[in-house]
Amino acid sequence: MNTYHRPVPNTWWLKRKPYILFMIRELTSVFVAGYCIFLLVLVYKLTQGADAYGNFMAALKSPSSVALHLITLAFVLYHTITWFNLTPKILVLYRGEERVPQGLVAGTFYAGWVVVSVIVAWLVLGV
């Protein structure tokens, strides 16, 4: 029989909103990697002495650095939110016959996130 195979255009993900959101979620990883490289450069500058490090830290005040940080922050926050929201799909817990509510599982991760953020800020900033 002559069946017809419909082609899948490479732009399939533009067809529906959930697919676009999926693609944005996947592309947050590029910003994650970008920030990894930023951290790596920061540590590398440490090895280059006080002047190199000082210049690098001064450059953080430039508008382009701030803008890039803000864009990265937006994407990384999207990563964080989508990541935590999917945790109940993977961590399926039961108390007897009752499934532990999905909101409780995700909520635990959000609470952990707040705690981790406070600890990181405290350690890094030393306040």
Binding site: V30, V43, L46, L68, H69, W83, V116
Partner: protein, 116 residues
């Protein structure tokens, strides 16, 4: 059917995703907003303080993990993103480039931390 080695990449992806989700927002707020705008007192990221901190083996190990694992998170996600947008025919090359990139990044950061 061939035994898959995907579990190793998937675990690194998951671990890296968790590290990035938990820690990157606050770190970005610190290096992108709080420090440049001077909102947190007198230069808390000054050279001496940070160098002394990063010289400690435990801090080195933690920072190394924070840099390396999310690189693998990127590698795994980006690999599949490229496949999804139609590059399936070169999927092996994509895997090599993505995971290779994460491995190179990991080695470079290991060397950098070693030399501090």
């Amino acid at each position: 059917m061939a035994k898959s080695n995907e579990p190793i990449w998937w675990s690194l992806f998951s671990a890296g995703g968790m590290v990035a989700a938990m820690m990157f927002p606050i770190l970005i707020i610190i290096t992108g907003i709080l420090v440049p705008f001077g909102l947190v007192g007198d230069d808390p990221l000054n050279f001496e303080r940070i160098r002394d901190a990063v010289s400690q083996p435990l801090v080195k190990l933690i920072l190394f993990t924070i840099i390396s694992l999310p690189l693998f998170h990127w590698a795994h996600r980006f690999r599949f993103t490229l496949v999804d947008v139609g590059l399936k025919s070169v999927s092996t090359l994509i895997s090599i480039l993505c995971y290779g990139g994460a491995i190179v990044g990991t080695i470079v950061s290991a060397v950098v931390f070693w030399t501090i």
